[in-house]
Amino acid sequence: MIIGSLRRVTRYASWPRIRKSLKGVPWFPLVIMVLFVVVGVFGRQLAPHDPLKIDIEIRLLPLFFMKGGSLQYPLGTDHLGRDVLSRLIVGSGVSLQVSLVVIAVAASIGALVAVVAGYLGGWVDTILMRLVDIIMSMPWIIIALVFASIVGAGVRNIIIILSIFAWPGYARVLRGEVLRIKQGDFVRLAVVAGASKARIMLRHIFPNIVNTLVVISTLQVGSIILAEAGLSFIGVGVPPPRPAWGAMAADGVGYIFTQWWLAVLPGVAIVLVVMSTNLLGDWLRVRLDPKFRQL
């Protein structure tokens, strides 16, 4: 079975096919995303300096082209004399890790709930969807603050909190899809063929929501990164001294009138990544829509 699917992949992945499927890709967001992932994974190796090394002697160095700046610290140093470029590079790792894990967890739970609730209907649907309503109506920032003050701040806790609040969004949108797919004659024919409920959900319903799942996930990356940055900004995210974009922006706010770049640079990084994921998500949405597939 594995060999079979491998063979299929190799047959499908011929060069003209890849070239055709890449037609019309938004290049700029794609380059930003690739950069984000590479930097996020190999941050420690790529950083020119140790992002944690404090050196009061060289604190608050400006950008390299300004007066007093040096090419050794191209983006300057922060209030403790740490290299901003290295901190930005290493800080991307936190955003990447958090967003990937949260999306994986939330998408799985959301899809599962959507398929089960949508297909089975009845009281299962009612209970699961009321749960979704409840979670979606809770003020997640306040809950996150409370949660952090009880169990402490940290990457793992951010992931837990964000996952809890991210899956209902998936569940609600995907359930609508499931309700639509359920009406298809092919589902009815599967019942006629004697397929069990589990089989119908797994083999007939789920494959048909994958497109939507992928699109929502891409669009979600941005908001997860923003949420993580927000939590780090208000101090319940990644604890210091580990660099995170949100925390860096928070540190820089105090110097906004004198050393504005300290707050602006992490902000620019966040904006670039979030914008790129949204643009890619939009492109994917159109690309995966069967109505547009022939174009």
Binding site: G184, D185, F186, L189, A190, V192, A193, R203, P207, N208
Partner: protein, 322 residues
């Protein structure tokens, strides 16, 4: 008439209409199918005609066990279908298959054609993997598709070819009965004849029975030996198709036949127009369902529901006139 495969006896399906969120108030029932009886012989085609909402599709869904009966019994090969379970139910699922109207909705867009066709056999679980492969190759050939069709996805086929795939799937588990719910009405004119001939050939070769549901009288007449006419959940006339065309007895059948489109410009037919429109059978009043629209209505028609009775050999009508 040969051996009987399916017997529907006083079959009923009511859909309750309720109001309220927590405390439900039962307002009444939509009597989609209300006391329908008919038989389908082995290797024969039984046609059901009627306008939308007459209950013909619900009847089919009852046989397919997609809906549960409100009353009555359906016997398949002498067994009560509502009592099937376990291996017997699995056997029944393999023996009764369906082909639906819309070939775009009836094939899962994310499955390969081979997988789609194999599904009823795989679930049936009686054959080995190699046996399944052979079986698929066999049915694909039977419906006139190329062998490499197995490897492709449904969107790579046209409407007519998709309907062939749907028929191949229905045949894969070697069924005794195939329910054809408007099998050609979504297809192009030149493809319709191909599919109708294919279904005819398959029946000649395999001796499978068909329950054909269609609104096009010419299609039903052409394909089925016996035809039943439904109106608002009731079977109003059952007779051999040729006889139905030549001597319709029920006023509704007469109106339906007179409304059929002519096959050439000089075909003059007197059009019988029933006043009013078909309504949903929600809490229908007692008496004949056609009472308010019938041209020959008599007082008795509003009081007593006419039973389906045999007026001449093999000709059943539910009307107080006969």
């Amino acid at each position: 008439m040969g051996e009987i495969l399916v017997e529907a006896r006083d079959v009923k399906k009511y859909f309750p209409v309720n109001r309220g969120v927590i405390v439900l108030k039962h307002l009444g029932d939509i009597k989609a199918v209300d006391g329908v009886s008919f038989t389908i012989g082995k290797g024969e085609t039984f046609g059901l005609v009627g306008e939308s909402g007459c209950g013909k599709t619900t009847t089919a869904r009852l046989i397919l066990l997609l809906e549960t009966l409100t009353g009555g019994t359906i016997f398949f090969d002498g067994k009560d279908t509502s009592e099937l379970s376990g291996p017997e139910l699995r056997k029944y699922r393999a023996s009764v298959q369906a082909v639906f109207q819309d070939p775009y909705s009836s094939l899962s867009p994310r499955m390969r054609v081979g997988t789609i066709i194999a599904e009823p056999v795989v679930i049936g679980g009686a054959i080995s993997t190699n046996g399944i492969k052979d079986r698929i190759a066999q049915v694909i050939k039977m419906v006139g598709l190329r062998r490499d069709a197995m490897e492709l996805y449904p969107h790579e086929f046209s409407g007519g070819q998709r309907q062939r795939i749907a028929i191949a799937r229905a045949l894969a588990s070697n069924p005794k009965l195939i329910i054809l719910d408007e099998p050609v009405s979504a297809l192009d004119v030149s493809i319709r004849a191909q599919i109708m001939n294919l279904l005819y050939d398959i029946q000649q070769k395999l001796g499978v029975s068909y329950l054909l549901i269609a609104h096009n009288l010419a299609v039903v007449k052409h394909m089925s030996k016996v035809t039943g006419v439904m109106y608002m959940g009731k079977l109003v006339e059952v007779v051999e198709s040729q006889e139905l065309y030549l001597h319709p007895l029920h006023p509704y059948t007469q109106a339906l036949l007179s409304a059929a489109l002519p096959s050439h410009p000089d075909e003059q037919r007197e059009e019988i127009v029933l006043p009013g429109e078909v309504s949903t059978p929600f809490n229908p009043p007692p008496g004949c369902r056609l009472y308010r629209r019938c041209l020959y209505a008599r007082p008795v028609c509003s009081e007593q529901d006419p039973p389906l009775k045999e007026v001449s050999s093999g000709h059943f009508v539910a009307c107080h006139l006969h």
